[in-house]
């Protein structure tokens, strides 16, 4: 491992903290009722009049959940229709046909749930209209939905004897217009200046120096890539995602894109601290997340640098130095090298982003186990925009509960008593998705239709299937991309995508609704303190024990076997 590579990782961590703290404080202001950004307020009020909502009127957890679900279902319909009809619509200079039904179904579920799993290659399947007015709109909106739900959940934690959590339309609008859009425009312009295309012209055709014809796909890429990274979406314009130079031309764009993956989720931790007036506690949550993130990089980076047995025994030079970064360069790009690809694969699965700047199927056994385990934890290490932190609340509640059991006192969190009902919601939130992942993976490897999707053989093939359902159920979207689309896998994936999004989302809102109704008790000597290092250790321990133990047997069959037998 090079010092240069490690330095890049450390600078990454420093810049992430330096940017996310002020952004978090800004976001807390944005969601406060008194936020009035000058003339933009009239635009905002116009939106509320259009959707016929009174911004001052708030919703309880059931009403909020219902609006989220209805809104998503309506968007589902539109996105499906655009894909199927794109051949007859405008902005289709390369004359692409309608997307096949089962691919369109999976893709619609994938993008409306902030997942962006892709059973298609974007540049030769989706028209510019679909990419821009279908998929990229979801990259804004599905992110904003996650952010809105998080804010509602945080209100539940901070309010006393209340039932209202906020107005969905207000939270949606503010997330989109005051947070996502400005950040996307800034990042979009930078990406554009570095070489990410933004055009409505169809593909270019070049005559190469040796006289062959070369097709060069382009389109409205830059803005989509910006929001794809910022909104923990991950769905690229091109099939090879951010490994493609047109999505990610150089070291600078790579750095900014990988910052963008964790920027909003990390900021939300500080936003939370400000909103519930528990800044020290927020720092401890941040520390727990950061510890798991660092652990991931510390495993992935050396594994990739060490390379695979195939490469080592081939005799070629994989040693870092003398004009190369060496290591496992299979399905990786020269301009990123090992350190930046290992960092990306960790960050993209800590968050529910799922964009990749190298092929995950070609990662070494343990280099590939890191993204898999990260996702299996429910993407709570910063996590998806909104969904990461509300997912983390499940673990926090469980951690506080376990601490309460140990000292024999009724557990409290932020002054609220944690009782049977809250534990049930937290348990559903934390355990539903991992259970579903194991069930669907099992189903996919014992049926012939499921096995048809597997590309590599042996233990690695099993990992492909496990990865596919872990990624879709946790709304990540990264893939061991050899795992192929069949009608069966597309439909099974659709189930994983939808249930994986809405079960934890509703559980989080229910938890918040239940906590909002409680009184706040003053801190006493028996209260378990959530603002010290003991809490960090306990929280990390709970994550490792609950999700970690669930994935361990499956992990043994996949990456562990692969890593130990070769």
């Amino acid at each position: 491992m090079s010092g240069q590579g490690i330095a890049q990782v450390l600078v990454y961590a420093g810049v992430l903290i330096a940017l996310s703290y002020p952004l978090g404080l800004y976001m807390a202001r944005v969601y406060a009722p008194g936020f009035r950004p000058g003339w933009l307020s009239s635009l905002e009020n116009g939106f509320y009049r259009l959707v016929r909502t009174d911004p001052a009127k708030e919703q309880d957890w059931k009403s909020y959940s219902k609006t989220v679900i209805v809104f998503t279902v309506v968007f589902f319909g539109l996105l499906y229709a655009i894909q199927r009809l794109q051949g007859h619509l405008f902005l289709n200079p390369d004359n692409l046909k309608g997307v096949p039904a089962h691919i369109a179904l999976n893709t619609t579920a994938s993008f409306t749930t902030n997942t962006n799993w892709q059973y298609y290659g974007g540049e030769y399947t989706m028209s510019y209209l679909t990419q821009m007015a279908g998929l990229a709109v979801q990259q804004f909106v599905s992110a904003a939905v996650g952010m809105a739900v998080l804010v509602a959940v945080i209100r539940g934690l901070s309010r006393r004897t209340a039932s209202e959590l906020g107005n969905f339309w207000v939270d949606l609008y503010r997330s989109t217009v005051y947070i996502l859009l400005p950040l996307a425009l800034v990042l979009g312009v930078i990406l554009l200046s570095q070489g990410v295309p933004q055009t409505f012209s169809g593909h270019a055709t070049a005559t190469t120096l040796e006289g062959a014809a070369q097709t060069i796909a382009r389109g409205p890429v830059a803005l989509m890539i910006a929001i794809k990274q910022l909104g923990t979406n991950g769905g690229g314009f091109y099939n090879s995602n951010s490994a493609v130079p047109f999505e990610n031309p150089n070291g600078l764009t790579n750095f900014l894109e990988v910052i963008a993956i964790l920027l909003i989720p990390a900021s939300q931790v500080f936003m939370f601290g400000k909103m519930v007036l528990a800044r020290r506690h927020a720092w401890m949550v941040f520390a727990a997340m950061f510890a798991v993130f660092a652990l991931g990089v510390a495993v992935a980076l050396p594994s990739e640098q060490h390379g695979s047995q195939v490469l080592r025994s081939s005799g070629v030079n994989i040693t870092q130095g003398h004009g190369q970064s060496g290591g496992n360069m299979s399905d990786k790009e020269v301009r990123f090298g090992i350190a930046n690809t290992a960092l990306w694969s960790t960050a993209t699965t800590d968050a529910s982003n799922g964009s990749v700047n190298g092929g995950h199927d070609a990662l070494t056994a343990f280099g590939g186990a890191v993204p898999l385990v990260n996702m299996f934890f429910g993407e709570v290490v910063f996590g998806g925009v909104g969904s990461g932190l509300y997912g983390m609340f499940f673990y926090i509640v469980i951690a506080v509960f376990i601490a309460g059991l140990m000292v024999g006192r009724t557990p409290e969190y932020l002054g609220k008593r944690i009782e049977a009902r809250e534990i049930k919601y937290a348990a559903v939130g934390a355990l539903f998705v991992p259970t579903m992942v194991l069930t669907l993976t099992a189903l996919s490897v014992v049926t012939a239709s499921g096995l048809a999707s597997v590309f590599n053989s042996g233990a690695h093939g099993f990992t492909e299937a496990l990865y596919a359902y872990t990624s879709q159920a946790n709304n990540n979207g990264s893939a061991f991309a050899g795992y192929g689309a069949t009608n069966f896998s597309a439909e099974l994936g659709t189930v994983a995508l939808m249930l994986g999004r809405f079960a934890p989302l509703v559980a989080a809102l229910a938890l918040a609704g239940s906590l909002a109704g409680k009184k706040t008790a003053p801190v006493s000597a028996g209260t378990f303190r959530t603002d010290g290092p003991t809490f960090v250790v306990l929280l990390v321990g709970v994550i490792l024990l609950t999700a970690g133990l669930m994935v361990f047997p499956a992990l043994t069959l996949g990456p562990v076997v692969e890593g130990l037998t070769h």
Binding site: T67, V70, T207, G337, N456
Partner: protein, 196 residues
């Protein structure tokens, strides 16, 4: 329920028009004016003809040219259908592909690099890239190919090495990423210099 449905229908239309059409159209207009070359794919033209893009590898097989990394696209270096190879780290096909690529390199380069062994072949030269159109090779890979290109073109090795240096994209801001040699730009520079 009906109220939510009505609100949602309106919101979906408004958001799609705003975020899906108006904003991207304005952004594209800005891009075409402010960053015209980048916005259209960083195309390189020679004598008015498009010969490729700065950001996409293209096929080179003649010995007078530097060769890019292996590509898994169909056909190779298809910038209209990028893809990974997706071969797992223990896949026998990976071992076979690496061996085949290494043998081909040794056969091609040995006449110009006496005593060249497989241990001198950098890993990026025998592995597929992530995109299938990685425009770069490592400086180590370029150094390996430089003797052949110089000999075939009857150019002094130092002249070729100078061109390699000129067409090496260093780390961004001297810090981020890894250095890479842009193969298309390098080969264009060689053609301008002549020989071969």
């Amino acid at each position: 329920m009906l109220r939510d449905l009505k609100s949602s229908l309106i919101a979906v239309v408004v958001l799609t028009l705003a975020l899906g059409l108006a904003v991207p159209a304005a952004f594209t207009g800005f891009a075409q004016i402010a960053f015209s070359s980048q916005a259209n794919g960083s195309l390189i033209t020679v004598d008015g003809k498009v010969v490729g893009s700065r950001l996409a590898a293209q096929a080179f097989s003649k010995p007078k040219y530097f060769h890019p990394r292996p590509s898994a696209t169909a056909p190779a270096y298809n910038a209209g259908a990028t893809t990974f190879a997706n071969l797992g780290p223990t896949n026998p096909d990976l071992a076979k592909n690496v061996r085949t690529a290494a043998r081909a390199i040794l056969k091609l380069e040995r006449p110009f690099n006496p005593g060249l062994t497989i241990g001198d072949v950098p890993v990026d030269a025998v592995t597929t890239s992530g995109s299938g159109i990685d425009p770069d090779i490592t400086p180590a890979n370029a150094a390996l190919q430089s003797r052949r290109v110089a000999a075939v073109r009857h150019l002094p090795l130092t002249a070729v090495q100078r061109l390699i240096d000129e067409n090496t994209d260093g780390r961004s801001l001297r810090f981020f990423g890894e250095p890479g040699v842009n193969v298309l730009k390098l080969n264009l520079a060689l053609d301008r210099l002549g020989g071969g």
